[in-house]
């Protein structure tokens, strides 16, 4: 039940957006979203609320890492650490 689903914003009307996922659309509330969003952006939706704007750049970077699959190289410190 803590599932969060990535959806794309199609329309914004005050604190409610219409967001789409593979053909179906749903109202998504923006009350607790910290970031500004625009039509076309992706957000993670949980229990009807957008909780995070998906950072496409980060998504792309993770994918690049997966593609290279060099991420477990013990010698080359990657930038995964956060402190």
């Amino acid at each position: 039940m803590c599932l969060g689903i990535p959806m794309q914003i199609r329309r914004i009307d005050g604190n409610v957006a219409e967001a789409a996922l593979s053909g179906t659309t749903r109202p998504v509330y923006l009350d607790i979203l910290g970031e500004e969003v625009r039509v076309g952006d992706y957000v993670i939706v949980h229990a009807g609320f957008a909780i995070h704007k998906i950072d496409e750049r980060e998504a792309g970077e993770t994918l690049d890492l997966f593609r290279e699959a060099g991420i477990l190289d013990l010698d080359s410190g990657t930038d995964h650490g956060v402190h």
Partner: protein
């Protein structure tokens, strides 16, 4: 979302597994805290493709499962009141209380509606001013801010026939209870992506620094979970214990401050009983005094209950990672998703339900 498909790419999965195999020497017991991770692991056979000395055990990450019998009993008592409409997320209505379930109460005439968001519950109240609507607030830090936002909206708009029975829980105290329990011996945590989206990584730092248990925040696709396992294994092999974020597309290190602010405005921490864990200090959220009008526990007399756990069910041990579903004599015999004996078989993210679906013998 075509990029999601790429997080399921079989070739990358194989390469990642090969790399884990190449670096992994030590025994490692990793706990996936979140029920959604349990499902990803089961569905994609991740346990089976990892080296044998890496074990993945499931933790207390399903809110429906950790909600204790007495809380279900209170919800049932509310549902039995004449003028009350209960609004709830679907899973909860099938969880056995001491005597009955909400689903059975509905069969006997109680007005119980399944909603998709807490806003749906508020809208029910607004549409029919004659009904008292009580939303059953359940979930961790991912859900609690959504409910808080709706309670705040109810106050702003002067709705009087809406209340919330808050059964929300916060995860860090349960993780602390787990690392403090010596018999378990967890070597690393796969931390829940979307809870961390809200709370940020700070709460895990004590676990890494003081208990020397590495924590990696993971996303929910197979490659996410495997990468998190790889990062944990790498730390374990190097004798390190840090907090890392694998799920960078969904989590920023400081979380979502706006969500936390509304949660802190509407709720305050309280001691709370978890199935299997008992009373954990400051692990629950109750409605604060300024929103008392929306607190179902203050609005209604709820008769005290004498909670009774389902006989033979070992959910409590499963939630603490001490035993696995096949250790339960009722697993897949008397207890099945269509006739759950215990809470862990109800939600699709419950450990027993996930094992039933993916590891049935």
């Amino acid at each position: 979302m075509e990029y999601i498909d790429r997080y399921r790419d079989p070739e990358s999965i194989e390469r990642l597994v090969a790399q884990i195999r190449a670096i992994s020497r030590k025994q490692a017991k990793l706990m996936e805290v979140c029920g959604t991770h349990t499902v990803t692991i089961g569905r994609n056979g991740i346990r089976e493709i990892l080296p044998r000395h890496i074990s993945l055990i499931s933790g207390p990450g399903c809110p429906v499962c950790v909600t204790p019998v007495e809380a279900i009993d209170r919800a049932v008592a509310l549902a039995q009141k004449q003028d009350v409409t209960i609004a709830t997320f679907g899973d909860l209505i099938r969880v056995p209380g001491s005597e009955t379930t909400l689903l059975r109460q509905r069969g006997e005439g109680a007005d119980i509606r399944i909603v998709y968001s807490a806003y749906d519950a508020l809208h029910l109240a607004q549409e029919d001013g004659g009904r008292q609507v009580v939303f059953l607030g359940i979930g961790f830090e991912t859900t609690a801010p959504t409910v808080a936002a709706v309670i705040r909206r109810a106050k702003e708009t002067g709705v009087r026939n809406f209340a919330v029975l808050s059964m929300h829980k916060v995860l860090p105290p349960a993780l602390m209870a787990l690392v403090e329990s010596p018999q378990l011996g967890i070597d690393g945590f796969i931390c829940p992506g979307h809870v961390t989206t809200i709370i940020g990584i700070e709460p895990y730092e004590t676990i890494a620094d003081d208990f020397h248990v590495p924590c990696v925040v993971a996303g929910f696709e197979p490659l996410d979970v495997l990468e998190a396992v790889g990062l944990l294994v790498r730390q374990i092999e190097m004798g390190e214990a840090r907090v890392e974020i694998q799920y960078r597309r969904g989590v920023s290190p400081d979380g979502n401050p706006k969500a936390r602010a509304v949660m802190e405005e509407v709720f305050e921490p309280c001691d709370s009983v978890w199935r299997g864990f008992g009373l954990l200090p400051k692990s629950g959220l109750r409605i604060s005094d300024s929103y008392a009008d929306f607190d179902a526990t203050r609005k209604y007399e709820i008769a005290p209950v004498n909670p009774r756990e389902p006989e033979g069910c070992i959910c409590g041990d499963i939630l603490r990672g001490l035993r696995q579903p096949p250790d339960c004599p009722l697993f897949q015999t008397t207890c099945r998703p269509d006739s759950p004996v215990g809470a862990c078989m109800v939600s699709s993210e419950g450990t027993c339900a996930a094992y039933y679906k993916y590891y049935r013998r």
